[in-house]
């Protein structure tokens, strides 16, 4: 991708993550997921899209368009919300944890 993109690629892959939301009592319902950005590392703060939280809003999606609503506190979603964040090795192994000789990507059984 050329030299001009080196720093951006590193920043992007270190900050990139996947966020998934599911219901504690109803895992069979499946999960909602989207992408996200790691904003800080200690503690790990992540910014992601709000669309995956709509099914969990106590007041329904109408709460998002209520007049003057610019933010909703965390407890505006139900207690059965379970969130998980997953990121790649570059984000976690900041210092020297590369396994020499291992390919970056291969065709895992998916």
């Amino acid at each position: 991708m050329g030299r001009q993109w080196g720093p951006s690629m590193r920043a992007a892959e270190q900050a990139g993550c996947v966020v998934s939301a599911s219901r504690a009592e109803q895992p069979e319902e499946g999960l909602w997921s989207c992408s996200g950005v790691i904003l800080s590392r200690n503690p790990v703060l992540v910014l992601c899209h709000g669309g995956i939280f709509t099914p969990f809003l106590r007041g329904g999606s109408g709460a998002l368009t209520a007049a003057g609503a610019t933010f909703l506190p965390g407890d505006s979603c139900g207690d059965d919300l379970r969130l998980h964040v997953q990121w790649g090795p570059t984000a976690a192994s900041v210092a020297g944890r590369k396994e020499p000789g291992r390919p970056g990507l291969c065709t895992p059984r998916c």
Binding site: G16, S35, N42, P108
Partner: protein, 392 residues
């Protein structure tokens, strides 16, 4: 549908971190983004826009689609439970480009995970390059390809190097059932300011505001729209009744556009230019190729000069041309603007020059008599094999 979540990679694959539990701190939106979105896409006339991640003909309930639209400008701030390895690292994970620091046309890098958590081994942090295609306050558009699941993914600039510019708000835009190859973004700087304001209202997490990443690089004057790159100034909007399309100003009173925009010779069209100032000038269609010609071209002569518009200098050799048509999949109705039949400007240049200097349309008339190979390509057909003649 039909996708199954993948388990974390097998040991011989890419070592993904196991998912870490997290908590929702708050849901937030950028008021300015929502105001611009409502202004651009919320009116009756703009009703044909859709930002749902499903293709127009996929079954999505009206309620579900409404939910998606309501959530379009909303983002979530999460805190990962203690114990996650990343905690060992120190310092901000990203820096943020102030609103206005990245100019229209500048290169961007989108990083998201298509299909979200369904197959992170393959799709986690997929990169896609594009440019900042257009802006309206914190509402940005890019032509970097983004797929469903990349909502919330980061979009980064080459300059300032690696700075976060925006997050993906809607990867797919549909207009009148046609996929418009642009992705809707929400600028990161105003969004993080909104996050700081919101955290200040929540005493038990207010201290986290200090951990949000700083803005780096100085904004280049606002509004973003600025003059943009000089070659962009030659792009004009051509309006003929209810039909509109793009065109290129080749001389102060000469505009080239497509025949399907200005189909009839001697018809009057209105040409809009936004750079250096917003003007609308009437013009007359002096030439339009016939429907059967592969060269979907029309030439407009303006009633006044387009003042201050830098005129493009046609290239000697070509690998670019004027976009004459997009490619449309008649089965799904999707149109792919990045798959085009383009006409090399060197094919048009001699005829345009002859008309510009002498007013003679002869050279342009030649465009109606093209060779068969060009016609076959235009029709996206395979060249017909030479059919052996029967000796009977």
């Amino acid at each position: 549908a039909g996708l199954e979540p993948c388990k974390a990679a097998q040991p011989h694959g890419r070592l993904l971190q196991p998912p870490h539990a997290a908590e929702l701190l708050l849901l937030l939106s950028c008021p300015a983004f929502r105001a611009h979105f409502a202004r651009l896409f919320g009116s009756e006339a703009a009703e044909q826009w859709r930002f749902a991640s499903a293709a127009p003909d996929e079954e999505v309930s009206g309620e579900e689609e409404e939910d998606q639209l309501r959530a379009l400008g909303w983002f979530a701030l999460l805190r990962v439970r203690p114990g996650a390895e990343a905690e060992a690292a120190c310092g901000p994970a990203v820096t943020v480009a102030p609103l206005g620091a990245v100019a229209k046309g500048a290169p961007l890098l989108a990083c998201g995970s298509p299909f979200g958590a369904f197959c992170p081994d393959i799709f986690l942090n997929t990169l896609s390059r594009g440019v900042l295609s257009n802006t309206a306050g914190p509402l940005l558009l890019t032509d970097a390809r983004c797929l469903p699941g990349t909502e919330g993914g980061g979009v980064f600039a080459a300059r300032p190097a690696g700075a976060l510019v925006a997050l993906v708000a809607a990867p797919l835009c549909w207009k009148a059932r046609e996929w418009v190859g642009l992705t809707l973004l929400c600028a990161a700087a105003p969004l993080l300011r909104a996050a700081r304001d919101a955290l200040a209202h929540l005493p038990d997490v207010a201290a986290l505001a200090a951990l949000l990443p700083p803005e780096v690089g100085t904004p280049r004057g606002l509004p973003l729209r600025g003059p943009g790159p000089p070659w962009a100034a030659a792009a004009v909007l051509v309006e003929f009744g209810s039909v509109w399309g793009s065109g290129v100003a080749m001389a102060p009173r000469l505009v080239v556009t497509c025949r399907h925009v200005a189909p009839r010779e001697m018809a009057k069209v209105l040409v809009h230019s936004a750079n250096p100032k917003s003007v609308a000038i009437w013009g007359c269609v002096v030439f339009a190729t016939q429907e059967t010609s592969p060269y979907d071209i029309a030439v407009v002569s303006l009633e006044e000069d387009l003042e201050g518009v830098p005129m493009p200098r046609p290239a000697e050799y070509f690998h670019e041309g004027i976009v004459a048509s997009n490619t449309r999949d008649n089965n799904t109705g999707a149109t792919y603007p990045h798959l085009n039949f383009s006409i090399p400007i060197t094919v048009l240049q001699p005829a345009l020059q002859r008309y510009h200097q002498t007013g003679d349309l002869g050279g342009l008339r030649e465009l109606d008599r093209t060779t068969e190979p060009v016609r076959v390509v235009w029709r996206l057909q395979r060249p017909l094999p030479a059919i052996p003649r029967s000796k009977l």
